[in-house]
């Protein structure tokens, strides 16, 4: 690919596009913005290919580009949050009271989730939803494992508290 092989580049894009899109969307919460970020990251990777150590895997390098740019974008402007509550969350089998309580819990949880700092929220989501390990997140964010663990603990504590309030676990 360093020689400008289009097929090799196409294969590289094909191999990493889904993960790149998922990570971009995790950062920006908007499909179009996520696609723009993924495209931008693939081009940046090509532009700076000479700085890449070919003996190492490509994905960690690409994902760091995505995360750095995505966090900058998220911080620079108000991120358009267009994710809607999936229909699955509204269970038609529930009674009105149950449904109302459930909706309230989810609204509260969603509020707490929105309050998390972007970096902390990303760490929690990568760990809980995408199956990244603490070590992988630390590498992705160019941070120490202890820092990642701390953010993970603090973020999860905040979210658990939001859930527990409605179960009566927390006064």
């Amino acid at each position: 690919m360093r020689d400008g092989d289009r097929e090799a580049y196409g294969a590289l894009v094909e191999r990493h596009l889904d993960r790149a899109l998922a990570l971009s969307r995790r950062l920006l919460h908007h499909r179009q913005d996520a696609e723009d970020l993924a495209q931008d990251a693939f081009l940046a990777a090509l532009q700076h290919l000479d700085a890449f150590d070919g003996a190492r895997p490509f994905w960690p390098w690409l994902s760091r580009i995505i995360v750095n740019r995505g966090l900058d974008l998220a911080a620079a402007r108000a991120v358009r949050v267009t994710e809607s509550l999936p229909d699955e969350a509204r269970d038609p089998g529930q009674g009105p009271a149950e449904a109302a309580e459930r909706a309230e819990i989810l609204a509260r949880f969603r509020h707490e989730l929105a309050l998390l700092p972007p970096r902390r929220k990303l760490i929690v989501q990568l760990f809980e939803l995408d199956g990244y390990s603490v070590a992988e997140i630390a590498e992705l964010l160019e941070s120490s494992r202890a820092t990642v663990r701390w953010h993970l603990h603090a973020g999860r504590h905040q979210l658990r508290r939001a859930l527990a309030q409605f179960r009566g676990d927390v006064p």
């Binding site: 360093r2 400008g4 092989d5 289009r6 894009v13 495209q39 994710e83």
Partner: protein, 127 residues
């Protein structure tokens, strides 16, 4: 407490997943994005195939820079040597007679006449 947090929390994960809408990027959108990325990358790839001007410069620099430096050193040495050789002959130093035009003409009558003819004032020509 921190140690407990290094394994995923199934309950928290389940609730988080509710807010994690499925990826709405359809196959067609994905293909369009891939085409867009490849189209945007085409000029950069072409540049890599053809080689940028600075890559040629970098290759030739390995040869030309040492040659240029060697030439510059040789030229400097030559200039220094010629300057030292002519150091005793400044602009105000009288030119020895044997080095002048007068000195170059041999002192015999013929040469003296030639010299007189060269240095004599020019008189208006009369018909």
């Amino acid at each position: 407490m921190m140690r407990r947090d290094v394994t995923p929390d199934p309950e928290l994960g389940a609730v988080l997943r509710r807010f994690d809408a499925p990826d709405p990027t359809a196959d067609e959108q994905r293909r369009a994005l891939k085409r867009r990325i490849e189209a945007a990358a085409a000029p950069l790839l072409a540049e890599r195939r053809n080689g940028a001007w600075w890559e040629f410069a970098a290759v030739w620099a390995r040869t030309l820079v040492p040659i240029g430096l060697a030439t510059a050193v040789a030229a400097a040495a030559f200039i220094a040597w010629t300057a030292r050789a002519g150091a005793g002959r400044g602009a105000l130093t009288p030119v020895p007679a044997q080095d002048s035009l007068v000195g170059s003409v041999r002192r015999d009558p013929t040469s003296q006449h030639l010299l007189d003819a060269v240095v004599a004032p020019v008189l208006p020509h009369r018909n």
